[in-house]
């Protein structure tokens, strides 16, 4: 039996530019040209003012853990547990679902500062996040 591969992104017309930017080493979010709102994921309009005029900005790659969950059971044979799924809030404001890598699951905490790190998955580059130094917030 062949090894089961993890699922990969399924880009559509709206998300394809995001994944293309990732291949080029940039995590992009959308900026509304009319009201200045920053958001993810990409959509057909600004979710604040519904303006159709948007442009892409490259994120600094700095952010923090808004919340996280440690998968202890393997749900997909291509993604063996344990691993950490986190909702990351970027320094610029938008949030995205990602993983915290580069440390043990037990070391992850809410508000922990993290730094973008791209990792390959099939034909894609996935934006994942690793801890920044030791500067964990202890709130």
């Amino acid at each position: 039996m062949s090894e089961v591969q993890p699922p990969v992104p399924e880009p559509d017309a709206l998300s394809a530019p995001f994944w293309e930017a990732c291949r080029n080493g940039a995590l992009e979010f959308s900026a509304c040209d009319d009201c200045g709102h920053y958001f993810l994921p990409a959509g057909p309009c600004c979710p604040d003012c519904w303006s159709p005029c948007m442009s892409s900005r490259a994120a600094s790659g700095r952010g923090h853990v808004f919340s996280f969950a440690v998968y202890r059971r393997t749900y997909h044979p291509g993604m063996p547990a344990p691993y950490v799924v986190a909702l990351i809030e970027l320094e610029e404001g938008p949030r995205l679902i990602s993983n915290v890598v580069g440390c043990a699951p037990e070391e992850v905490a809410i508000d922990m500062p993290v730094q973008l790190r791209f990792e390959p998955a099939g034909d894609f580059m996935l934006p994942r996040f690793a801890p920044v130094g030791d500067e964990k917030e202890t709130s």
Partner: protein
Amino acid sequence: MSRHAVIAGVGHTEFGKLAGRTAWHLEAEAAAAAVSDAGLQPADVDGLLTDPGPSQGILQGITPHFLRLGAQLGLDPDYTGSEILGGAGSVAIVARAALAVEAGLCDVCLCVYGDSPLSNAGSFEYGRGDEAAFGFFGAVGLHALAAQRHMHRHGTRAEQLGEVAIAARAHGARTPHAQKRQPISMQDYLASDSLVEPLRKLDCCLVSDGAAAVLVTTRERAADLRAPAIPILGHAQAHSLSTYTSPNHFDTLPAARCGPKALGHAGLSASDIDVALLYDCFTIVVLLQLEDYGFCKKGESGPFVEGGRIGPGGSLPVNPSGGLLAEGYGGGMLHVIEAVRQLRHEAGERQVKGAQSALVSGHGLGMNTHATLVLGSHAHV
């Protein structure tokens, strides 16, 4: 003359693994049970609303579900539709039935939930798409994010989530049709397998084959029917569709918005509610709802549930039939049915003494849909 909606009949199948029967068989059985409970005939039904359940409705995308079920039941209704709101769907269709009968669009509206994920393979498969690429699968992971934040912000402990699971099983032990009738201890809870930390297996609802149905009609039509009519005093919906981008998502449910509305229509406040039927797909959702409906202050649901307060004989019994954690996964329709039985005072060993008012909630999809019903007793009719 204004028309007032009441629930006149309820019925359901058994819940569990029901091999050899499709969801359609189960839905037909539940529909017949509800019509019979009301003392009506199939020909009296002139409205049909359905909630196809997670594996039929969300994952398989069966639309329009009402068309096939209506054909199988031989119905030519004056009003119909299906709603896919996840766990808020069943409460939402009962509320929509109330609107329809009060508007005179139909007189006897059948509301049906059904699903058979255990006996029909392929219903619940691991996820796909952009979030699945990060291993973010299913409802457990999503609710684990909420539980993690509650523990971080409010100091909520595993034992307090455990209180919810223990209460549900204690209730289930008194419910003859419950799928899980064995009580559990805190030791059992803490020893339960970690699935997606901080949630354990015993934090998660059951997966069940089964169907449940409710008949909504007018107070006048129900006057000479078999059972006491249970009035629908208030209902509301609120949703949070912007999910991850919304500042309060994971901390506050839309219940905080639709609870006061539904209670306000009923002329009641949370402290007037005798029995709460709170959607309990995961223990953390019960804690969040206790806060967001105003049964306790924000952040204080952990201490609130200690000491058996929501268990049998507690000051606020929650889900006396055991709910999704013990009775079976009924999409929220079993919650509506238990409220009706409590308010008819026919719940047997699990009857909440003197229950005159009930709040029923539904919560679903990416923690972003919510619906509330407030029901009264025959005394309110």
